[in-house]
């Protein structure tokens, strides 16, 4: 999923302060799963903002709405009337959702209420970890299904650097050394010999280094 984290109340408050009528628009898919922008978070944020502005003696009208996904037109349309009633949209979707709303409603300012952080997993309750950078050319088969591009701090493709210690990355002991994980898993799979293979430099053209990407599916074009 896309993992995100809600911005601080202070930052959000500053963003919406110039407006009197605000729609807080949640997204019911990825950011809901990571507790950043689903309907529960929309409700909590609305209360917190009302309270914060009230303390300042400032009147602000906040409307709440959550759609299933802010990255698909079909669901975005459900927000049309609510958006028309307000001066600004504070989107709690990922960066893609924020921009898609802006694309559909060109005269309405759309503000981000969430910091989009990474493509990751729920490793355990309360812990999300980055697993993929969306490089566009998956090489997980070479690395026992542990991605060194997403998970090695130096994106090394040919083995761990000299800073791997007891399975930890030199950058931060809280980070697992991706290469230790790769080696452990190769060992389990009986494929340790793979480590001797020279892995070519990455062709970054498939990543966003090649410019903004598009995916065309001819078979789905109506």
């Amino acid at each position: 999923m896309i993992v995100g984290e809600q911005k601080t109340i202070a930052e959000i408050k500053e963003l919406v302060a110039p407006f009197k009528k605000v729609l807080i628009l949640g997204c019911g898919t990825c950011v809901k799963t990571c507790f950043a922008g689903g309907e529960d978070e929309v409700a909590t944020l609305t209360s917190a903002l009302r309270l914060a502005f009230k303390k300042d003696g400032k009147e602000i009208q906040i409307e709440e709405l959550t759609v299933e996904r802010q990255c698909e037109d079909e669901f975005i349309q459900e927000a049309t009337e609510a958006i028309a009633r307000n001066e600004v949209v504070l989107s709690l979707a990922c960066g893609a959702g924020v921009q898609d709303i802006a694309k559909r409603f060109e005269k309405v300012p759309v503000l981000p209420g969430v910091n989009t952080t990474f493509i990751g997993i729920l490793e355990k309750h309360g812990l999300f970890t980055e697993e993929c950078v969306g490089c566009g050319d998956c090489k997980l088969a070479l690395f026992a299904s542990v991605c060194p591009i997403a998970r090695c701090s130096k994106r090394l493709l040919n083995g761990p650097c000299g800073g791997s210690k007891e399975g930890r990355c030199e950058v931060d002991p809280a980070i697992d050394c991706a290469w230790q994980l790769i080696i452990d898993r190769l060992k389990t799979l009986g494929q340790l010999e793979n480590l001797r293979t020279y892995v070519q430099p990455k062709d970054w053209r498939s990543s966003n280094a090649g410019g903004p990407r598009k995916l065309v599916r001819e078979d789905h074009i109506l």
């Binding site: 493709l157 083995g159 650097c161 931060d172 080696i183 020279y198 430099p201």
Partner: protein, 312 residues
């Protein structure tokens, strides 16, 4: 690794002749004053065969390794230009290798580099377009095939004597020799190791390297750093990534009075060099006297490694 008819550099010549090589290290200043580099050169000249010039080491912005290497050349001291993949993409790396060669630089040490979060500007973006093994292969292909990474023929290909680092003390240990083999396959000519304080582990690593036949394929220069004080030893043991300083070493330096600690550190360093000289497959020593270049002469002399061969 047999006799080389036309060595690329002094360092290659010294190693090919079978002389126990000595390299030093020079960290460029956090400023643009060439006299700082020149001062370090004076401390090192005559005592070492070549000097590593670090490339924004510990991710702290400094005078570039290419420029500082050129200052060394001007003073008749051979540089080993360090180059990290942290700050430059493949385009910039290849361009700088050609530029460095044009200035007379003949040795390169290919590294990935300390992560920028350790440095003075942790808010910087890193590059890591390619890794150190890719860089080794790139320099090799430029030299031996006369081609850049795109396969384009180069007019006057840069001919570098290619080095890389190895850390026998990092984990996973059993992989460390495989990594050395990968670097050799990629085209490395010489290796400089992390500072050695844990001699048992280094011996074990060398044994594995010998068993794989790697010491026949690459020159290994064992890294040493003299300890200045117990405080420095503790700092290195606990704060510097990839460092392994065993308890007895820490105790020995802490066991002498403060004003005698640096003398003890130098004595320990000289003893380590003596042990390394006797070790099969060790072809030289790399002395990293960090901001203590003035002691290199004393160490090399006490280790019985003087006089050094003529510079080419």
């Amino acid at each position: 690794m047999s006799q080389v008819s036309s060595p690329i550099s002094t360092l290659q010549r010294v190693l090919a002749e079978g002389t126990f090589a000595v390299t030093g290290e020079c960290g460029p200043p956090r400023g643009a004053d060439p006299d700082v580099v020149n001062g370090k050169i004076e401390h090192l000249k005559g005592f070492v065969d070549a000097v590593n010039v670090t490339d924004n080491q510990t991710a702290i912005v400094r005078m570039s390794s290419i420029a500082a290497s050129a200052h060394l050349l001007n003073k008749g001291l051979e540089p080993v230009m360090q180059m990290v993949t942290r700050d430059r993409n493949r385009i910039a790396l290849q361009s700088d290798i050609m530029g460095a060669y044009s200035l007379g630089i003949r040795n390169i040490l290919c590294l990935s580099g300390d992560h920028q979060t350790f440095g003075s500007q942790p808010d910087a973006m890193n590059v890591f377009d390619i890794d150190s093994i890719h860089l080794i292969r790139t320099v090799r292909d430029m030299r031996d095939e006369g081609k850049d990474m795109s396969g384009h023929d180069l007019t006057c290909p840069p001919r570098m004597f290619i080095g890389a680092a190895a850390n026998p003390f990092a984990d996973p240990f059993e992989y460390r020799v495989i990594r050395l083999a990968k670097k050799i396959d990629a085209g490395v000519d010489f290796i400089q190791t992390q500072c050695i304080y844990n001699m048992d582990r280094f011996k074990e690593w060398m044994k594995l390297a010998r068993e794989e036949g790697l010491t026949e394929k690459v020159y290994i220069l064992a890294g040493v750093t003299p300890l200045k004080s117990a405080g420095m030893a503790n700092y290195m043991a606990t704060k510097v990534a990839g460092m392994d300083i065993p308890e007895p070493v820490l105790k020995r330096i802490a066991g002498v009075p403060k004003d005698k600690a640096s003398k003890e550190g130098i004595a320990m360093c000289v003893e380590t060099i003596a042990e390394l000289r006797e070790m099969e497959g060790v072809h030289g020593v790399h002395i990293m006297a960090i901001e203590w270049e003035e002691k290199v002469g004393e160490i090399v002399k006490a280790a019985g490694l003087l006089p050094r061969p003529e510079q080419s």
